[in-house]
């Protein structure tokens, strides 16, 4: 059934089966969006008076659900709707960049001080809104916010990317932004008292950010089982936090850190050379699969491959946590929403 949207004092017709987001974009409206898969929550909108199905609100905080917020990319209305963009005051918190650090040639860390009430678990993600633009993108939390009093994000520079180029090249301490969130279920859960179950975490590029967060949280909560963390990159200079993670694993006997690079080059010893999935499967092999919890983050193709391989090796689906860093497709590109971070 064809439905109509009322948005900013205009009426827009939707095509059969079309989402609110696709419809508004097709009519030339500038609605913030990124992953188009219901993950990043960039396309948050508010409905006036309509009843929303659960899919359109999946993953939103209860407070947002109660106020009729929904994800435009997941909403195919079956009746006419009156929709609006959320105001900053309703859904975001202001934050100030307090520190910026170059982690490797194409990744920066930003530390944010939040100027409002906020809480999150390390490994969850937040959305950043760049002041004065409609750009909204998700980034994962790599540290223990409660303990540190600030949020740390790792942002990889993507050529001509609207947010990451700004974050890497222009953003500086003192700048203000707005954030929304947190969201996501990639975080540590103690589960049982002895905390002796094994953990395996793997990812490429800035997929390390949430994984580091989960590791820090697990160590802080006194996790006793083995913790394997594998970080993959194309070449050695794409890896970062190598010294930090090596030092952390020397300090904690149950933390095993494996840096992996795909291409042989002038590398130091201690790096594994080859595809990440190969080393993940090697690490996984001897672990107790019925207890093992895995976390996979970063480039979507690798995340999906690792999930599938871990599952086929016997890891229970409820113990596989993941955040594929889904990336907005370029306008010219084909219709696949999930362009992989190479």
């Amino acid at each position: 059934m064809a439905t109509k949207l009322s948005y900013q004092n205009n009426i827009y017709a939707l095509q059969d089966g079309e989402t609110v987001l696709d419809g508004l974009l097709r009519h030339g409206q500038d609605v913030p969006n990124s992953c188009k898969a219901g993950a990043c929550q960039s396309c948050l909108m508010k409905a006036q008076g309509s009843s929303l199905d659960s899919k359109a609100q999946e993953g939103l905080k209860e407070t947002l659900k109660a106020q009729n917020f929904f994800l435009a990319c997941q909403c195919v209305p079956d009746e006419d709707m009156d929709v609006s963009l959320p105001s900053l005051a309703e859904t975001t918190i202001e934050a100030e960049i307090i520190y910026k650090e170059q982690l490797c040639h194409n990744v920066v860390a930003l530390r944010l001080k939040l100027l409002g009430e906020f809480s999150c678990r390390a490994g969850q993600y937040i959305s950043i809104l760049r002041n004065g633009t409609s750009v909204v993108r998700s980034y994962s939390v790599s540290n223990l916010f409660e303990q540190d009093g600030f949020l740390e994000l790792h942002i990889r520079r993507i050529e001509s990317g609207a947010m990451s180029v700004w974050a890497c090249d222009e953003a500086k301490a003192g700048d203000k932004i707005h954030i929304r969130g947190p969201a996501g279920d990639c975080f540590y859960l103690a589960l049982n008292e002895d905390q002796s179950f094994p953990l395996l975490l793997a990812g490429t590029g800035t997929g390390l950010a949430p994984l580091e967060g989960v590791v820090l949280d697990a160590l802080k909560q006194g996790h006793k089982g083995d913790i394997h963390i594998l970080h993959g990159a194309l070449k050695e200079d794409d890896l970062y936090h190598v010294d930090m993670l090596q030092a952390l694993s020397e300090e904690h006997g149950n933390l095993i850190y494996t840096p992996c690079i795909l291409n042989r080059g002038n590398h130091k010893s201690g790096f594994h050379i080859g595809p990440l999935d190969q080393f993940v499967m090697q690490a996984l092999e001897p672990l107790d699969k019925t207890e093992l919890r895995t976390y996979f983050c970063g480039a979507p193709d690798m995340v999906n491959l690792l999930k599938k391989k871990a599952f086929l090796a016997g890891v229970s689906s409820k113990n596989i946590f993941s955040d594929p860093f889904l990336i907005r497709e370029r306008k010219e590109a084909g219709s696949k929403a999930e362009t992989a971070l190479s």
Binding site: N304, K307, F311, L312, S317
Partner: protein, 121 residues
């Protein structure tokens, strides 16, 4: 009188069965290509709905959903042999979980009832 769904163990049984069942499907070269481009979490949720239905449980999976959900796979060559394979994996999953043969036959019959919807006939 207990229903088939209750005899099989209800929702916890579905949760246990889904991993075994989906693992068999992914490991079967005959049917796994149909799952290649789909995300695993979404697939597992769908398989849960499917298992709940064929276990005779409270399900809102309709024949129309079945038709819509498989249309694009028919273009890729989905046919009777794949439906047979699914029913077989379902049977061996339940056998592993110690389900009685009579109940397995009942589940297979319900699954078979969806065949025409799945194959859009």
């Amino acid at each position: 009188m207990t229903t088939l769904y209750e005899r099989l163990g209800g929702q916890p049984a579905v949760d246990t069965a889904v991993d075994i069942f989906y693992r068999k499907m992914l490991a079967d070269d005959n049917v796994s290509p149909f799952f290649d481009e789909t995300d695993m979490d979404g697939q597992i949720a769908k398989q849960k709905a499917f298992l709940t239905m064929v276990f005779g449980g409270p399900s809102n999976y309709t024949g129309k959903d079945m038709r819509e959900g498989h249309k694009h796979l028919i273009e890729k060559g989905l046919n009777d042999s794949h439906v047979d394979a699914v029913i077989e994996h379902l049977g061996s999953t339940l056998k592993e979980l110690g389900v009685a043969d009579a109940d397995i036959a009942e589940v297979a019959a319900i699954a078979n009832g969806a065949r025409d919807d799945v194959l859009n006939r």
